[in-house]
Assembly symmetry: C2
Homo-oligomer: 330 residues x 2
């Protein structure tokens, strides 16, 4: 996630109308991404509203705006399917599909962004199903990536093997781990432990071009055991939300015991909020998409732009198109 300059200057497309604090937060996030992280951006949304926000930061001359008349509502259910061609999401996906944009960042509802992105950008060649990747802070410092965090609830073992490869690519490009260790989340660290799905996935993972650590368990998720935690989208989504809820409850217990001030605890909570680490990246599409949490402020959206830029600098799905397992390299 270093702020290194990149050759191709295609901008990251920021959905100005997505999120609870749109357009103010996405517009300010885009300005921060551009000014503080050197990420070229373009904003998509209602041009007049977006320009008014840009003016507040004196940035009207710095950042291009592409007009889109509609905003997709933040309600989860069916919003993506109902999103019209004039919506900021659909127009943003179009910019990524045509190559005018390097990646899309949106703080819109996850369901809507995923639906629109799959329809509007499409899967990369060779990809069976997309997966959501979320960076989780680790006890040992830094972050690991959890994939799939909820895009595909009923994957096959072959899909899980692809999620692992896409997640390893994320770890290389975003987390800067040149040789990421991949762990399969299951219910026993010994080989062969798990359910039918993980036992078959475990067999496949051993033959892929990354360092397969083996099986990991629920207590390894934040322990820094591996760089990539691979699982099905059902388990991944339950675990992601369980981490969020358990952190919250544990801090409330500490506050309730009266042994630390709520303000200091809130700081710890912020540092540990998985949603603040650049959002959820939808991997496996023919373009890069990062979904920031709906409640994201400008800093979170700016971080999501950095993640999107880093992901767009590589071709995550390239290895999936290579012929066979047991290749060299990692």
């Amino acid at each position: 996630m270093a702020d290194r300059p990149r050759e191709p200057v295609r901008p990251v497309v920021v959905d100005a109308m997505g999120g609870d604090h749109a357009p103010a937060a996405p517009v300010r996030g885009a300005v921060l991404a551009c000014r503080e992280h050197g990420v070229p951006v373009v904003l998509v949304g209602r041009a007049a509203e977006v320009r008014r926000e840009l003016d507040r930061h004196g940035a009207a001359g710095e950042i291009d705006v592409v007009h889109a008349a509609e905003a997709v509502p933040m309600t989860e259910r069916g919003a993506g399917a109902a999103a019209g061609a004039d919506s900021s999401l659909a127009v943003g996906c179009g910019l990524v599909r045509t190559g005018a944009g390097a990646a899309l960042v949106s703080a819109g509802s996850t369901g809507a962004v995923v639906t629109c992105a799959i329809r509007g950008i499409g899967k990369a060649p060779g990809v069976l199903r997309p997966a959501l990747a979320v960076a989780l802070p680790q006890l040992t410092g830094g972050a690991s990536v959890l994939v799939d965090a909820g895009a595909t609830a009923d994957p096959t073992p072959e899909m899980i093997a692809q999620f692992a490869q896409l997640g390893a690519g994320y770890a290389r490009l975003v987390l800067e781990r040149p040789d990421p260790a991949v762990g399969l989340l299951t219910i026993g660290s010994e080989p062969g432990k798990g359910n039918r799905l993980t036992r078959r996935a475990e067999e496949l993972l051993g033959g892929l071009p990354f360092r397969f650590h083996g099986n990991i368990e629920g207590h390894d998720v934040l322990a820094g055991t591996v760089d990539v935690i691979v699982t099905d989208g059902f388990t991944g989504n339950v675990v992601l939300k369980n981490v969020e809820g358990t952190v919250r409850v544990t801090l409330a217990m500490v506050a309730g015991a009266g042994i630390a001030s709520p303000e200091r605890l809130a700081e710890v909570a912020r540092r540990y909020d998985p949603r603040s680490h650049g959002g959820a990246a939808l991997l496996g599409l023919a373009g890069t998409v990062v979904v920031a949490h709906g409640s994201s402020g400008a800093e979170t959206i700016a971080r999501a732009c950095v993640v999107a830029r880093d992901l767009a600098s590589g071709d995550l799905a390239a290895r999936l198109r290579e012929p066979a397992p047991h290749r060299a390299g990692g």
Copy 2:
């Protein structure tokens, strides 16, 4: 978990040789259960060793000892299958099977206890598969029960419906919730969200004789949303270990921020340790079995004896033998 006296005075059988601190911790736990909670107990293990420990508490005259020559090692893999007929586990299961004991409590390895109990006690009539139930402390106070926490990794929807009924029985008998609310752990609170397994299970749960709250998500696990959290044994085991790991990491972060003393944080950790709330109950057998954590001290084993006594006071599987759904009552 109140210390109410019960009519049938059949003792709870305590495996004196199970756990990292055997026989000292199980023997002292049995003495505590008997003296402080009024639970009748019998100890199973190497008689000479067990009596020596009983003597240390002046309890040789109070508690019966049944001799078993072998101790099952604490290594997880294959220990249960290898446990001989002379092992304390096998002898203890035999006492429950014949009705001489009301229930078995062991701090031996979960795998070994589950294997021995299924073989030595057998399933209750009508039960498809056993399930592990673990009480989790809740933010709102009290505890909820997570079931299945790992006994059956690949259940059918029908098995999940049975786990819910067994879990509701646990909530009534152990948590003293006369009308427990049951939630299905999945990845969206709206009806129909989830994977293939939970969508089908959701349909079945609506027709069963308990209050079905509906779908819950990972952040609800400690939030006090429901009394019974029902899930498959794979997800349940991942979540249980994820809760343990996330509590540990969060407290380490708080300690690392220097805003609370490690001693006070350790107290919070103890209060929040799921393993200290009476262990994991194996539901669905023809007798009651409670597995305490291997590292259990005497107090934890005593609590497991109380849970075992409470569970043995009811017939958890009775409702499973009733004819059809849509019955009255709850």
